[in-house]
Symmetry: C2
Subunit: 468 residues, 2 copies
C-alpha cells in the first residue's frame, strides 16, 4: 500500500526527529546574543554553523553575508520547475541576552527537554522556528520524490533582530536582486494557542517622534510669574490631551487617511477566536480595556492605528515640591500604523498638528525616528491560502487568522522586494520570548516541520505568480 | 524757629547716619546663612547681636527665642499711651548662601559702599530692611520728644526664612499671646521702583500637590497592547489639559468660590503703574504673556488665583525612543490663592476634580504639601492708610499700591494673630535678592528709616483699634 503524502511526511520526520533535535541543540548552545559585544564572536559562529548546516541540508547556495554589524545567512535552493513561485523565508539567528541568575531553572545555553518542552534561549525566538524549515524541506523532497523543492526557496536569516535590525534594510537593499521573491514567509511569530493554529496576516507599522516644547529661557518662579506666561509643561499636556477625541480616536487631522478598514469577514473571523478579555488584561497587567469606540480589543491591537505617549517629562520630578514654571518639556509619542496609511504622510500630519497646538510664546521642535511601514496580506491571497492549508494539514484542523500589533523588519522586505509578507509561526504565548526559561513545545515544533513540508507543494500547485 | 516734624526727623537721621551704617555693616559681616549647617553658629550670633542692638536702641524687652531650628529675636517697646495700637514688625535675620565665586565683585560678607549703594549679602534681604526700624524709632522719639513710641511696638525677626520657615508657625502659635497685635508690618518686600514708591497690600497663598497616576502594573509593550488599555501618561496629560478652560480660567469646579474680586479702584490704581510689558517679559525670560482672559498681566500675577504645572513625568525620558505604555505618571501642581479662597476647600476641590478625571483602569493618588493662606488688607484700612501716608511723607510723593504674587509666612501671622498684614519695604527689583552683588540703595534705606519714624505717630493719631 502506497503512502499518502501526509503519512510519508510523518514517517520521514519521525525517522529524523532525534538527529534534528541534536542539531538544534548544538545551535542553541551557541550564545548568539547580538546586544552584548562580548558575544559578537558567538553571533559569527552561529552564522557559520547555520550556513554549514544549510549546505548539509542540500541548499546549493549558503553564504554568510556581512553587515556593518552582525552577519546574516543567505541560502538558496532553486526549483527544477522554472515557473514555480519564488519564496523567501525570513528569520533570525541572534537571541536575547540570558543568564542563569535572571531566573532560569537551568543554563539558558544548555538546552534541556523537560516533558514535551525544549528549554533554551532561542528555542522559540527564533532558532527553533528557523530550524524547522531545514527538516521541512527534506521531508517535502522525501514525500514527493523530488530532488529540488517545488518552489524556488530562499532563506534570509539575520543576526541583529534582537538589537533592532539596524543594518537590515541596507542589507536587503544591497542584495535586493538576489532576494527577489514572489512572497516572503516570516517565521518569527506565534500562533493563538496550542489548540488554535492561526496564521498572522499583517503587522502594524510604527512612527515615533519626540516633541520638545520650550517656554521661558530658564525655570522661573511660579509665584512671581505664574498665571501670566505660558507654561511648556501645560502646553505639552494639552498637546497630549488633544491627541485623542472623546471616542478614543486619534484626533490628528488626516491620520486615518487611506486606512484599510476591516472587512466583515475579518471581523467575523476575529470574533470567532476564543478570546478571554479578563485573561488578556492579566497578561497586559492592566486594569481596564480602553480604546477606539466601535472596535473590539483584538481589532484595536491588530487592525486599528493608534497613538500612545511613551514618555512625558518637564519641570521638577523629585521629592516634594518646587514652585517653578519649567523652561521646557518633552513628549515622546508613537503611532502604530495599519495598511493603507503612508508613513511619511502620517509624520507630516503629526508635525503640522503639533505645531498648530503650540500656544504663543512656546517654541516646539519635532523629531521623528526612522519609522516602520505596516504590512498586510489579504485573506484571499493565494500564498496566504497555501500557508493556511499547509498548516491545517499539519494540525488536522482549520486554521484561523490573526494579525500582529507590533512592528518589525518584515515591512522592509515587503517594501524593498515588493512582495507580500506571510507569517508562519508555531510559537505560543507561554513560550516566554525574552524571558527566563524560554521554551518551545516539541509537538508544535514538529507541526512546524510538517507545515513547511506541505507548504512548498501546495504553493507550487496552486499559485503561478505573474512574472516579476 | 521750631522744626517741623519732618525736618526734625531728617536732622536726627543725618546726625546718626554714619553710626547706623557702621552698625548695619557689623551685622552684615555675620554670615547668618540658615540653609548651611556650618553657619548655624553664625545664625545664633546674628540673633544675639540683634537682641543686644535692640536693647541698646531702647527696647525694654529684647529676647532670643529658640526654635527647633535657628533662633528668632523678639523685642517689645510699649507705648505710654495704653489705648494706642499694637504693631508687630516682621522680618528675618538669616540670609541666602553667598560665595565670592558665585560672581560677587567683593566678599559678600564684607559690606562695601560703591556710589550710593551698599553691597553685601542681606543688605536688602532682609537685614537692611529690619535695621531701618531701629533708627526709625529713635528718630520718631527725637522728633516728637517722646520717651516711648506712640504705638505699642513689637518686633519678631525670624532666623529661618531663607530655609522655608519650617518652625515659624509653631513659634507664632507658641507665643501668640505675647505677639498679639492690631496690625503686622512686614518689612521683607520691595516697592515698584526708585521713582515709584508703593505699598504692597497682600500676598497670594499656595496649595501644592503631587498627583500620581497608576496604569499597568509594569511598563508594557505598546505594540502588543497599544490602543487597547488606558495609558497613565495620557491620563496625566489629559488631567493637566483639563486644568484650564479655553479662557485660561482654572477649570476645577469650586476653585473660584469666595474669591475677593478686584475693585474698580484697585484696577485703576494698578493701571496707573508705569508697567512695561515687554520689559517684564524680559525679566520673566518668557516669550509671550498668557493667562486668564479679561485681566491684565499685573492683575494676573497679583490678584488672580492660578494653577501651574511645576513638573510632569512618566515613561521613557531618555535619548531615542522606547515603545512602552508606562506603568505610572506623576504631576506636580501648585495653585496660587487669593483672599477669600479657603485653602482646605481648594485642596478638597482639586482632589475631587482629579479623581473624577481618572479613566477606568487608572488609579490616582493625590498628596498635598502644607499650604500657605493668602492675605490681603483692604485699601481703606486705617493702618494701610497710615503706612501710605508715612511713606508718602518720606518720599515726597503719593504712594501707589501693589500686591505680591508669591506666598510667604506673613500669612501665618495674619491667621494665628488675627491681624491685618501690611507690607513696608523699600527694596527695588534691581537689588538682586538671592543673587550675587546684592545691594541696597542708600537713599531708599534712609527713606525707610524716615517712613518708620513717621509711621508710629501717624498710626497713633489716626487709628484707635477696637479692643482685641
Amino acid at each position: 500500500m502506497s503512502q499518502t503524502p501526509d503519512s510519508a511526511v510523518h514517517a520521514y520526520i519521525e525517522r529524523h526527529r532525534a538527529a534534528f533535535l541534536d542539531d538544534l541543540a548544538a545551535w542553541l548552545r551557541i550564545p548568539s546574543v547580538s546586544a552584548q559585544p562580548e558575544h559578537a564572536p558567538d553571533v559569527r559562529r552561529s552564522a557559520d554553523w547555520l550556513a554549514a548546516k544549510l549546505t548539509a541540508t542540500g541548499f546549493p547556495v549558503a553564504e554568510v553575508w556581512p553587515t556593518a554589524g552582525a552577519p546574516a545567512v543567505y541560502a538558496e535552493w532553486p526549483s527544477d520547475d522554472p515557473g514555480a513561485p519564488t519564496v523567501l523565508v525570513y528569520g533570525h539567528h541572534d537571541v536575547q541576552p540570558a543568564a542563569r541568575e535572571d531566573g532560569w531553572d537551568t543554563d539558558p545555553f544548555e538546552p534541556v527537554v523537560r516533558g514535551n518542552r525544549l528549554h533554551a534561549r532561542g528555542a522559540a525566538d527564533d532558532k527553533g522556528q528557523v530550524f524547522f524549515h531545514t527538516l521541512g524541506v527534506r521531508a517535502h523532497l522525501a514525500a514527493t520524490g523530488r530532488t529540488a523543492p517545488a518552489v524556488h526557496l530562499k532563506l534570509l536569516i539575520e543576526g541583529e533582530e534582537e538589537s533592532g535590525s539596524p543594518n537590515f534594510r541596507a542589507l536587503v537593499e544591497e542584495h535586493a536582486g538576489r532576494l527577489a521573491a514572489d512572497a516572503v514567509i516570516v517565521s518569527d511569530t506565534g500562533m493563538w494557542s496550542e489548540d488554535t493554529p492561526t496564521v498572522c496576516t499583517g503587522m502594524r507599522g510604527l512612527a515615533e517622534c519626540e516633541i520638545r516644547l520650550y517656554g521661558p529661557d530658564q525655570d522661573i518662579h511660579s509665584g512671581s510669574f505664574g498665571g501670566a506666561v505660558p507654561n511648556p509643561a501645560t502646553a505639552a499636556a494639552r498637546l497630549v490631551g488633544a491627541l485623542h477625541d472623546e471616542h478614543g480616536r486619534v484626533a490628528v487631522p488626516g491620520f486615518y487617511d487611506g486606512v484599510v478598514e476591516l472587512t466583515g469577514q475579518e471581523r467575523a473571523l476575529f470574533a470567532e477566536l476564543p478570546f478571554d478579555e479578563a485573561e488578556w488584561l492579566r497578561t497586559a497587567k492592566s486594569h481596564a480595556a480602553h480604546g477606539e469606540a466601535g472596535y473590539s480589543t483584538l481589532e484595536r491591537i491588530w487592525a486599528r492605528p493608534t497613538a500612545e505617549v511613551n514618555g512625558i517629562g518637564g519641570g521638577y520630578q523629585g521629592a516634594g515640591s518646587k514652585t517653578i514654571i519649567p523652561s521646557s518639556a518633552v513628549v515622546k509619542l508613537s503611532f502604530r500604523l495599519v495598511a493603507g496609511q503612508d508613513l511619511g504622510a502620517v509624520e507630516k500630519a503629526v508635525q503640522d498638528w503639533a505645531e498648530r497646538q503650540a500656544p504663543a510664546g512656546i517654541r516646539l521642535e519635532t523629531d521623528f525616528s526612522p519609522g516602520t511601514r505596516p504590512c498586510l496580506t489579504p485573506l484571499d491571497h493565494p500564498a496566504l491560502q497555501s500557508v493556511a492549508r499547509a498548516m491545517g494539514r499539519a494540525f488536522g484542523k482549520p486554521v484561523r487568522f490573526t494579525r500582529e500589533g507590533g512592528s518589525g523588519p518584515a515591512a522592509d522586505l515587503q517594501e524593498v522586494l515588493g512582495a507580500p509578507v506571510l507569517f508562519l509561526g508555531i510559537s505560543v504565548p507561554s513560550d516566554g520570548w525574552h524571558a527566563p526559561n524560554e521554551k518551545v513545545e516539541l509537538d508544535l515544533l514538529f507541526k512546524g516541520v510538517e507545515t513547511s513540508a506541505h507548504l512548498w507543494s501546495d504553493l507550487a500547485e496552486n499559485w503561478r505568480p505573474a512574472p516579476r
